[in-house]
């Protein structure tokens, strides 16, 4: 695993390591050569690991007090909030932690999109990441159902009904998911079970994600290969550990702001009303992190095609490494791609905004235009751009632009001539 042979210094360490090479693994992780030009957008992997651990720990504690039963779930959540020692804190960390997790994962994904981290030889890392993202959405959705409020109940109804769009077997699949003829107690108990299971599946996939990362090593802002170990790299510990730690601290300030000052701002007031199968809330809106896909669903007037469009919007990411025909990774050297990248960011934000608005009039029109553009970006713009775009020449190594003060070779050369 490591790039050099490792032998523990102590006799006991050597004895243990010969039988189970855990110390070799630990040594690989600390010495792991990392490009020295990584910027703060690269700290979100560590932040995401923190988010996952936080959700698992707070979730375990909540499961000790929560009761997964349609008649008692709502009250047990109120019991956690009012009676359990620090229950309010743990639940608010868990609920806002989900939002923080998605905030971090979106930054992480858009970092990859900007710097081309999904390209060869890192396709498998990217695809595992997309699977993790899908599992995160499933876990978040099922977790939102557990308090058994109005939004829980109707969110569960709407999302499970998506499967009824499948031709012929759709109704049967939905009945199977519910374990009845509507969302009810059997649905709640199985959602609780799966909500408990998924984070551990994610944990396993995170191990594979990092393993696959450690084969080619990190991409970097310049997007060219590094020679490792060389002047291009620094060991993971202490350099990246300290940088990740500082970024995590900044992130925790934002996290703490939501938990302590605005714990309900990202939720919906309707979810403090107990589930009522006879009344649908006037505005059903998913959590903010699902809004862009919700807007895509609603922008298509046909039920089946709407569901297909929504799923495609996510799954299209899995084939991104083959849709993007450009060999240049970093957007820094792709002047046109850089502009389209920011248009895509705006497009997704617009989709998120209209997803929260009623699906009518101008909002619907905007949603349709933005949905069309979303697919155009991946299916037309990226394949064509890779063939047509005139890119800026790449530097010879990542050390060159660092020393020259500019990531652009032409600029670096100019600086050199100035010095002369």
């Amino acid at each position: 695993m490591s790039d050099h042979e490792y032998t523990p210094k102590s006799k006991v360490g050597k004895w243990f390591n010969d039988r189970l090479p855990l110390l070799t693994l630990a040594n690989h992780l600390t010495d792991y050569p990392t490009p020295k030009n990584l910027n703060y957008w690269w700290t979100f992997g560590g932040i995401l690991t923190f988010c996952l651990i936080t959700q698992i720990v707070t979730g375990l504690v909540l499961a000790m007090h929560y009761i997964a039963h349609a008649d008692m779930a709502f009250e047990s959540v109120e019991h956690i909030m009012r009676d359990v020692n620090y229950g309010w804190l743990i639940r608010y960390i868990h609920a806002n932690g989900a939002s923080m997790f998605f905030l971090a994962v979106y930054i992480h994904i858009f970092r990859s999109l900007f710097y081309g981290s999904y390209k060869s030889p890192r396709e498998i890392i990217w695809i595992i990441g997309i699977i993790i993202y899908l599992l995160m959405m499933a876990a978040a959705f099922m977790g939102y159902v557990l308090p058994w409020g109005q939004m829980s109940f109707w969110g569960a109804t709407v999302i499970t009904n998506l499967f009824s769009a499948i031709p012929f077997v759709g109704e049967g699949v939905v009945t199977w998911l519910w374990g009845g003829y509507s969302v009810d107690n059997p649905t709640l108990t199985r959602f609780f079970t799966l909500h408990y299971l998924i984070p551990f599946l994610i944990l396993g996939l995170v191990v594979l994600h990092i393993w696959a990362l450690h084969v080619p090593g990190n991409n970097n802002p310049v997007g060219i290969d590094v020679k490792k170990p060389s002047k291009d790299t620094v060991p993971f510990h202490p350099y990246i550990v300290i940088k990740d730690g500082f970024a995590l601290l900044m992130f925790m300030i934002v996290f703490a702001f939501f938990v302590f000052y605005a714990p309900n701002i990202l939720g919906h007031a309707d979810n403090y009303i107990e589930a009522n199968p006879l009344v649908t809330p006037a505005h059903i809106v998913p959590e903010w992190y699902l809004l862009p896909f919700y807007a895509i669903l609603r922008s298509v007037p046909d039920k089946l095609l709407g569901v297909v469009a929504m799923l495609s919007a996510i799954l299209i990411l899995a084939v991104l490494p083959w849709l993007d025909t450009s060999k240049i990774r970093s957007a820094v050297f792709r002047p046109l791609y850089k502009q389209f990248y920011w248009i895509l960011v705006a497009d997704v934000l617009i989709l998120g905004y209209v997803g929260a608005m009623p699906a009518e009039g101008l909002y619907l029109l905007v949603a349709r235009v933005a949905t069309t553009y979303y697919f155009l970006h991946f299916l037309v713009i990226l394949p064509v751009l890779g063939l047509k775009e005139r890119t800026i020449p790449l530097p010879l190594s990542i050390t060159e632009p660092v020393m020259g003060g500019s990531p652009n070779m032409a600029m670096a050369k100019k600086n050199e001539s100035k010095i002369e």
Partner: protein
């Protein structure tokens, strides 16, 4: 591989895989089927509803098998509108005569066929029902007229036990 003649051992491998696959499927099925509605859910009896208090133009909502059922006593005007619609104007063509055997009474599942929300009464472009979730409009016969829902609201099995009581299921 292809030019090698199959041997006794190849046959044994194939037979082993086949038996293994059948065994695995036999074990998986109970694990899958346990999620389907259980006996207690299926055994849910029918619901009887007293509708004597309903005046023309009123709707009540009752719960049947966990789902809301609308019972509407329609006005003559609503019946006339519902019965005069041309079949070619409908997304899911169904005659009002088939949906409401007794024209005064419309009984249907109060579940939008799009994604399962409960539509609102006396709302929408066709003065029937309007689903607030994704904007489906239903007419006074509960038929889908506009929006993403693919079908009319479903009419369950029901009967009049006597003049004042409807039995659903």
């Amino acid at each position: 591989m292809s030019d090698k003649k199959p041997e006794r051992r190849d046959f044994l491998f194939t037979a082993t895989y086949a038996v293994g696959a059948v065994g695995a499927a036999a074990v998986v099925w109970p694990l899958v089927d346990q999620m389907n509605p259980d006996a207690s859910v299926k055994a849910l009896a029918s619901t009887e509803v007293d509708v004597s208090s309903l005046k023309p133009g009123n709707t009540i909502t009752v719960l049947w098998r966990g789902k809301p059922v609308f019972i509407r006593r329609r006005t003559q005007e609503e019946i006339d509108v519902a019965r005069s619609v041309k079949m070619e104007d409908l997304i899911h063509p169904e005659k009002d005569e088939d949906r409401a055997k007794n024209p005064e009474w419309l009984v249907m599942l109060g579940v939008c066929t799009h994604l399962g929300c409960v539509p609102l009464n006396d709302k929408g472009d066709y003065d029937g029902w309007f689903c607030p979730c994704h904007g489906s409009h239903y007419d006074t016969s509960g038929r889908i007229r506009k929006g993403p829902a693919p079908w009319n609201m479903e009419v369950p099995k029901y009967e009049f036990v006597n003049a004042n009581t409807i039995k659903i299921g």
